[in-house]
Symmetry: C2
Subunit: 424 residues, 2 copies
């Protein structure tokens, strides 16, 4: 049994109490709180940047990698972007109170569902301090209290940001206690959070695969499983080669360190001799390393200027998060479907084809959060798919699948309006 | 760590494999399978009743209570009702394949969601053998495979029914393996089921409070928490007394052994002297025992022919599942709201009032799966609320809340139709 310390108990209880008040707040009050946060991110820059300096210097002393240091870094420009993002949450519709599926039943009862917040969201995340603002604002707008637990490396930045958020919302009349921040960086606190079923209604892990796996395995409460994307793009024999080059290039190169980037390209053998050299040359210009199966290698091997390696079994089903792509030639749509079923992580999968039946079959048979026909897997994103923003991408089938925006942070209650009806 | 036996492993693997085929079946094939089950419940009566006889005699030898024996009992009439219920699932719309929230994004991408089955549903239930048919048919129609684990007392009946289902669906071309039944009544098998995260996508417990609590606490996978209903009806000072009598009578008496029956009635002090004697006399005719607080007792005590007891703290928040009601007089809507927040189980709560603001406040502030204005809590039921049927009633806020019908047994995948779009 994990022992819950007083600190956690107190914070969880305060969050739960605040969540009840939060559920009743008007959109106006919540939006004012968001505007205050946005303002404060500009007005209190100095304080935040000072705290970030301490984290950054500490990170340098501990020899953090360039990439980690870059994630950690805040500067006036980044703070301004954060302020702008908060502003854009203001303009999103408030999901709370929306009534849907309302209808009049044969006996005259009017029955439907009204959206309500989930309650208390727990968030466990790693080095990026902007996640503090990101998750706090989305939880706030959706009427949820939140308990934040950021990474050790960013603790001073996160503390400063959490204080800023709490002050800003209090000015708007939202209880400070709606946003709880765990300053204690002891790893035991994570285990405690994961054990607090009932106190935390939903847990969102944001970070690397290890964190996400740990949370999914250990958490006693519902968890958004996701964030790990082994994404395939299948270039069908009936693909438009221009589209296939543009899409595969975009999916791999535009932002290679994120979960919806291309990991494996599957190319039909009929189109491979013409297509593979084209995409390989484009990728090579961007520095992409290709891990090729035997048949892909026999096509690309003779070409100059490519970064090629023979693939190993490890390459299939691997999330590269870098400028590496696995390449395999297949003889049929079936073979591509089987590969995706075997190695996919249920995140984002794409087919490039002009063949109607192939497209339909792909949509029917692939089991993943998001399926694309003739588009880049990079579109699996709350903002891109019209949700406005996202707290996470779920690869679970329960509750919500794919990008989770404000609506996905809510539940509903049935409301039934009668005139004296009884059941017979 | 719970060790998973070969039997469970094999059945779970078979169910998962079948679930992939099930997801692709047409509504036509699934409906034919349901019609076959409905037919077989008539054609194979003898075999099922014989098996039920063995359970019933065993139950008598073990001195099971009248109520348990009645739940266990099958007869030609009950089998006919079961066959009719299966037939009505045929006429329900198939949720699988429904496309919703589809829209065209500014870049021309068409993005929306398509409903898909959850995968493998696990069901753990107690003595009623009709649950075998009930859950199997709803899972089948929603494209899910199912692993059934019924109670020890009904094992012969359940085995016969499961065989009947498997034969019937196979005749329609649905894989037999889509319906798995655990004949082994060892309690360890339940622990094994609860540990099989990944193999079972959603677990549905159906039975008494102990079973439901055990499953909610132990299960590694998502669970439908629910089935425990501590239901309040608040009779406001502005209640129409006739409606209040009819509704409270219905909510308590029409079917007292179920989760949506009235447990506590809260009566405003202004209306109590006129109202309480009326409902008490009606309830008394039906044999209802009333556990009254001091003030209710002072009103009802002088009357003849009532079954009254002074309430104890235990009565508040108790699910009676019998002809007992707790009665409390309150001085305000606030007091009623507080009582419900303290003692409710988040299932079904009702207000009886003609006061618009009181009704609105009740709907705003009470946090439960289903809220009623001027109607009986007995309407918290899939069939009554227009879902056609239900597998369970959820009091959780995740995934689905309230009655869970076919749609609530599904997830969705995003489908995104492009013409070469890339992310910029």
């Amino acid at each position: 049994m994990t022992t819950i310390t007083d600190e956690m108990e107190t914070k969880a209880r305060a969050a739960k109490a605040a969540s009840r008040q939060l559920a009743k707040l008007s959109t106006q009050v919540k939006n004012q709180a968001l505007l205050n946060i946005s303002e404060a991110l500009k007005a209190r820059q100095e304080e935040v940047l000072e705290a970030n300096d301490r984290d950054y210097s500490q990170g340098e002393r501990e020899d953090l990698s360039e990439a980690l240091l870059d994630r950690l870094l805040l500067n006036p420009k980044r703070l301004e972007e954060m302020a702008k993002d908060v502003g854009s949450v203001v303009s999103l519709p408030d999901p709370v109170g929306e009534v849907f599926d309302m209808r009049t039943l044969p006996n005259g009862l009017q029955a439907g569902k009204r959206r309500v917040p989930l309650g208390v969201i727990g968030a466990i995340y790693e080095s990026r301090p902007n996640v503090t603002i990101d998750i706090a604002t989305l939880c706030l707008k959706s009427g949820n209290a939140v308990i934040l637990r950021g990474g050790r490396e960013a603790v001073h930045s996160n503390t400063a940001l959490a204080n800023l958020v709490r002050d800003s919302i209090a000015e708007a009349g939202v209880p400070r206690e709606a946003v709880q921040f765990i300053e204690n960086t002891d790893h035991k606190l994570v285990s405690q959070m994961l054990a607090m079923k009932g106190a935390i209604d939903l847990l969102i892990p944001r970070g690397g695969a290890d964190l996400i796996r740990r949370v999914a395995e250990e958490a006693a409460m519902p968890v958004v499983t996701g964030g790990i994307g082994v994404c395939h793009t299948y270039v069908d024999k009936a693909a438009d080669p221009d589209k296939a080059v543009a899409i595969a290039y975009n999916a791999k190169v535009q932002h290679p360190t994120v979960c919806n980037a291309l990991d494996t390209i599957l190319v039909h053998s009929k189109i491979a001799p013409a297509y593979l050299p084209r995409i390989a040359r484009e990728w090579a210009k961007a520095g992409v390393e290709m891990h090729c199966d035997r048949r892909a290698l026999s096509i690309l091997g003779p070409l100059e200027g490519l970064r090629l390696k023979p693939s190993t079994e490890d390459d299939w089903g691997k999330e590269f998060l870098s400028l590496v792509a696995a390449v395999r030639v297949v003889d049929s749509l079936e073979e591509a479907l089987e590969h995706i079923e075997t190695y996919g992580s249920g995140h984002s999968e794409a087919i490039i084809t002009e063949d109607y039946s192939a497209a339909m079959r792909f949509l029917d048979e692939v089991d993943a959060a998001a399926l694309f026909v003739n588009a880049s897997t990079r579109f699996t994103d709350g903002a891109q798919l019209g949700l406005g923003a996202e707290v996470a991408i779920s690869t679970s089938k329960m509750h919500a699948r794919g990008p989770m925006g404000l609506r996905e942070l809510t539940s509903y209650k049935w409301i039934v309006l009668g005139t004296g009806q009884i059941r017979t």
